[in-house]
């Protein structure tokens, strides 16, 4: 802190007064948790609950409308696509792709972001400045360019999406971790860890990191929502998962051509994306309220 020569009043507030505990009215998490429940139910039991093999096509049954519409059959609740594949089964299996892609991205950029953020916040000074400028530069490069570059080098696939989002997304994580680390390292228990003889690594791993897990959980939950939208967009643009994978973004792209007479081909994957994204967002907000890090650090 002092090396940066920031505002002196900040440097002086080594032990700021306790944050007064406000009894915030915590919103009810039911809707978000319900949406996430539906999502994870699909992920876990996809093989059991899908009425059909999501890849099995039957051209004689192509482009059937949902069962309640004229021409629909009870056998295909949400209708079929142009190849006669069951929509419901494809949506259920598509949840897995969303999860794999978003968790993959979070793991990659979370790891990069946590390590760089910890180093930046803990060591401060020149190291901090270097990492923060690097992340500024990184953030100013449009993610789409990185993705296009990777697509042209290794081809479009789910893996490409994971890698490209993974290596572009870390700056935000790094910033949050750095901020937490900056305030934690001035805490008395961290200073006492040093008095006890802990090394820098021991302090970061055993005194700082455990106290930022909550924040990371909240951040990840909210970021997953963004990644799901982004990866759907990439698939939609043909830069992500390729046919015949079950992927909601891809289903949107495929259905787009038939939108004028087969509304269900874009509507249901769209609803699936929306519900999942809203589920993660609401849950993230709720987690933020109940896991208020300031409470934890008292």
């Amino acid at each position: 802190m002092k090396e940066n020569g920031q505002d002196i009043s900040q440097a002086l507030s080594i032990t700021p007064p306790d944050v007064t505990e406000k009894k915030l009215k915590v919103r009810k998490p039911y809707l978000g948790l319900f949406f996430l429940g539906v999502f994870f139910f699909m992920v876990i039991f996809a093989d059991l609950i899908s009425p059909y093999d999501p890849f099995a096509s039957d051209l004689s049954k192509g482009t059937l409308p949902p069962s309640w519409q004229e021409g629909g059959t009870a056998a295909h609740l949400l209708g079929t696509d142009f190849l006669g594949r069951d929509q419901l089964s494809r949506i259920i299996h598509g949840s897995r792709m969303s999860l794999v892609v978003s968790v993959g991205c979070i793991l990659i950029y979370g790891t990069i972001g946590i390590i760089l953020g910890l180093i930046s916040g803990f060591f401060g000074g020149k190291t901090d400045m270097f990492i923060m400028r690097l992340s500024d530069i990184w953030q100013s490069v449009p993610g789409l360019i990185v993705i296009l570059l990777l697509v042209s080098v290794i081809g479009a696939s789910a893996k490409t999406v994971i890698i490209s989002i993974g290596i572009t997304g870390w700056p935000q994580f790094a910033r949050v971790v750095r901020g937490e680390c900056l305030s934690l390292k001035e805490r008395d228990f961290v200073r006492l860890a040093r008095v006890a003889g802990c090394s820098n690594f021991q302090i970061m791993a055993s005194h700082i990191f455990p106290n930022i897990i909550n924040t990371l959980l909240v951040l990840s939950t909210i970021q997953i929502a963004g990644i799901i939208v982004l990866s759907a967009t990439l698939s939609f643009l043909g830069l992500g998962t390729q046919p015949p994978s079950c992927d909601w973004g891809l289903m949107l792209a495929e259905g787009r051509q038939y939108i004028t007479y087969a509304w269900w081909l874009v509507t249901f994957p769209g609803i699936a994306i929306a519900i999942t994204v809203i589920g993660f967002n609401l849950t993230g907000d709720w987690l933020r309220e109940i896991l208020d890090p300031k409470q934890m650090l008292r």
Partner: protein, 322 residues
């Protein structure tokens, strides 16, 4: 003197530079948090360090603990300059000097169990096997007046006084020679302060501990201290054996502090003669730092800074009156 010096501080200075600019930083001033202080602490004794908030007490503690490098001056531990220590020497030196801080709500890792908190210094220094460390934790818990089942709990399950006991147990775990106590009672209820103070006195007797105890309140350190140093704006105004300091204070600042000590009712704090703002350590007044607030200031006081003089054996004052 029969007892040997365990810590001696010579001409210690700690300045915090105030910098401006982003990439090309330049220093635009120094916060002179500690500005040339010297004192000794004898083995098994207690030095009390008192003074208003912001006078540099905690900074002195941090430098002694090796948390901050000194700007200049020497700190000797059992006669050896700690600045000359190698990395490994410094690591083992840390075993000898532990600390207890003011706010027990902040000084314990919130996500660790009491047994982990107390045994951490032992595991860091690889003292004993896990079972021995556990036994030691049990022993320490009973030493500080807690019970064995407390080992499995988390800090938030305890009251302030109990947490301070945990902090003390941790500080004791490596059998240190010295413990630095930075305002160990200030965050506690008055009723609990006495208990913790008595605990500290007991432990000191039992283990021949050397204490540096810091407080903004003279009354707190009176009973426990053998010597008391009074700090003002980064300097030591007066340092003396406690009975002398209380019965015969010399420095006008000490006199003022003693007058403002509430005798019976701790809530009725009447600041008798300490008027005026504490000047900033960024820009201490020239001459004697206390002169803008001193009732006895002379012309000389505005110009020259007084030097530390020994007026009777062990009683040092830095004031032009003597």
């Amino acid at each position: 003197m029969s007892k040997k010096k365990i810590i001696s501080v010579e001409n210690l200075k700690k300045y915090f530079p105030i910098t401006k600019g982003f990439i090309f930083t330049n220093v635009i001033g120094n916060v002179k948090a500690v500005d040339n202080i010297s004192f000794d602490i004898l083995e098994g004794q207690t030095l009390g360090l008192v003074g208003e908030s912001g006078c540099g007490k905690s900074t002195t503690a941090n430098v002694l603990l090796g948390l901050e490098p000194p700007t200049s001056g020497q700190i000797k531990f059992q006669g050896e300059d700690i600045a000359q220590f190698s990395k490994t020497q410094l690591f083992s030196f840390r075993r000898n000097i532990q600390a207890v801080f003011q706010d027990p709500f902040r000084s314990l890792s919130p996500r660790k169990k009491v047994k982990q908190i107390i045994s951490e210094p032992m595991s860091v220094h690889r003292v004993g096997l896990r079972e021995m460390q556990y036994e030691r934790v049990m022993e320490l818990l009973s030493l500080v007046g807690l019970s064995p089942e407390h080992a499995e709990l988390y800090p938030h399950e305890f009251s302030g006084g109990q947490r301070q006991r945990i902090a003390i147990a941790r500080a004791l775990s490596l059998n240190p020679k010295t413990i630095i106590l930075d305002e160990p009672l200030s965050a506690l209820d008055v009723s609990i302060q006495a208990q913790i103070l008595n605990l500290l006195i007991d432990l000191q007797k039992k283990f021949n501990l050397t204490f540096l105890i810091i407080s903004h309140d003279l009354a707190v350190v009176e009973h426990i201290s053998d010597n008391i140093g009074v700090m003002y704006l980064g300097i030591l105004a007066e340092i003396a054996p406690s009975d002398k300091l209380y019965s015969n204070p010399k420095h006008p600042y000490t006199v003022a502090l003693l007058e403002s000590v509430p005798i019976a009712d701790p809530d009725a704090k009447v600041e008798v003669s300490l008027e005026g703002e504490v000047p900033s350590p960024l820009n201490p007044p020239p001459g004697c730092r206390f002169h803008p607030r001193c009732p006895k200031a002379k012309a000389e006081c505005k110009k020259t800074e007084p030097e530390m003089k020994e007026i009777t054996s062990g009683h040092f004052v830095s004031c032009h009156l003597y």
